[in-house]
């Protein structure tokens, strides 16, 4: 357990050291959401309609961008090797790394999303659901993403291959997450979508660290 906390602490420390990393994932989120109006045009009604989709796709891409750096640096400099050789079970250490990843990329997105929602003129209730959905959805993105990151580790052209693997797996999260917000925007209840998200999250919490660890062991061989 001590080693797990050490891992989380170290990853947060590294994120602070590379100050820009956390901030820039956030800004990527902001910029991508702002790109869409530029591509699509400034009509407020149209923009409001596609806002949940855009915000979710942007959150998803922002999470995904940092994924390739989840294990790659540790792999390149031999830290992963040392983690595999540590007396603490590798699965636990990996769970720690995934937690740190969510804390540094997912959580900031959740906190920032309402501000961007305002740019698209969403009302208070929709903003609330947006935050709630992201709060359930972004850990899911980190967990699923970790599997992809582990599978593409040390593989040629890993970074882009990663997105190819991970994006299809993100589809359910996207549909339920954006769906929840759209329900509220059109005056319906979002409860169904949210509970589905929660269920997915519960499954992933148990399954993803295990799959990630297995994939990492293969990469290390």
């Amino acid at each position: 357990m001590k080693a797990v906390i050490a891992i989380i602490r170290r990853d947060l420390l590294l994120a602070m050291r590379r100050k820009s990393e956390v901030l820039t994932a956030l800004f990527f989120f902001i910029i991508v959401t702002s790109l869409f109006p530029l591509g699509i045009g400034p009509e407020p009604a149209l923009l409001k309609k596609i806002a949940p989709g855009i915000l979710w796709v942007a959150a998803l891409l922002a999470t995904m961008l940092g994924l390739s750096r989840l294990f790659a640096p540790d792999h390149a400099d031999g830290t992963l090797e040392q983690m595999a050789l540590s007396p603490t079970p590798l699965g636990l250490l990996i769970a720690g790394k995934i937690t740190a990843h969510w804390l540094t990329t997912g959580l900031p997105l959740v906190l920032l999303a309402p501000v961007l929602g305002i740019q698209f003129d969403l009302d208070t209730e929709a903003l609330g659901i947006l935050v709630l959905a992201l709060l359930l959805g972004t850990p899911l993105l980190s967990l699923i993403g970790a599997i992809g990151a582990a599978l593409t580790l040390g593989v040629r052209g890993g970074g882009v291959l990663l997105s190819l693997l991970v994006l299809p797996l993100y589809v359910p999260t996207l549909i339920f997450g954006a769906g929840a917000v759209e329900m509220v925007v059109s005056g319906l209840s979002a409860a169904g979508h949210l509970s589905l998200l929660a269920a997915l999250l519960a499954v992933a919490v148990f399954f993803a660290p295990w799959a990630t660890t297995a994939a990492l062991r293969i990469a290390l061989e």
Binding site: A6, L14, G78, E81, P87, T88, E221
Partner: protein, 201 residues
């Protein structure tokens, strides 16, 4: 007590070695020798349990290391070609992180002492990225000094080190072996250490 029986290793379609036997008792050390590409690194990774052998088995205290898993790793320290040092962190942070990963307690004073023993005095708070090639390796060596493992597996530990550091490391290994430890290492230079075994691949 580390034993390996009938190990063989295949890379691509190339057989690097086959039927390799090996037994090391506490207080012994082994120098693995061979030309470039002979398979020394491959052997060391097999012994550390990082990659499986094509045939044969590695045992620790009579048990196969596959089944021992964490129990084996608790006794093991492996230094590969890559340093496992984070370029962004300082030597001090790297060292204490490594200790925490190993589940060992390391006070700041101990860490500082180890670093300054390896000539990193004044560089404790400089990101590793700025260190010279040899200084980077010295950070790794400081880890050797603080980690209490029985079995050391070191792949070319002498690279990039200057004369003084080579001597420091040699002393460290001698100490370790005298204290009942086991050490396996590779090096293309001759090693100024007494009575080791030699394995030629």
């Amino acid at each position: 007590m580390l034993t390996a029986t009938a190990l063989s290793c295949v890379r691509g379609e190339r057989l690097l070695f086959a039927g390799l036997d090996l037994a090391l008792k506490p207080g012994e050390w082994l120098h693995v020798q061979g030309e470039n590409g002979a398979g020394k690194t491959s052997l060391l990774r097999i012994l550390a349990g990082l990659s499986p052998p094509a045939a044969g088995e590695v045992r620790w205290q009579g048990e196969p290391i596959r089944t021992l898993a964490e129990e084996y790793r608790r006794h093991l320290l492996f230094l590969g070609h890559h340093g496992a040092v984070k370029e962004e962190l300082t030597p001090l942070e790297n060292l204490s992180f490594a200790a925490e990963l190993d589940g060992a307690a390391l006070s700041e004073a101990e860490a500082l002492a180890a670093l300054s023993r390896f000539g990193l005095r004044g560089r404790e708070d400089l990101a590793v990225r700025f260190l010279s090639a040899g200084q980077k390796r010295r950070v790794l060596l400081a880890r050797l000094a603080v980690r209490k493992a029985t079995l050391w597996i070191l792949d070319e530990p002498f690279t990039a080190l200057d004369v003084k550091a080579v001597e420091l490391l040699s002393n460290l290994i001698v100490e370790h072996v005298r204290g009942g430890g086991i050490c396996i290492l590779t090096s293309h230079q001759s090693i100024p250490l007494p009575n080791g075994k030699v394995l030629k691949i």
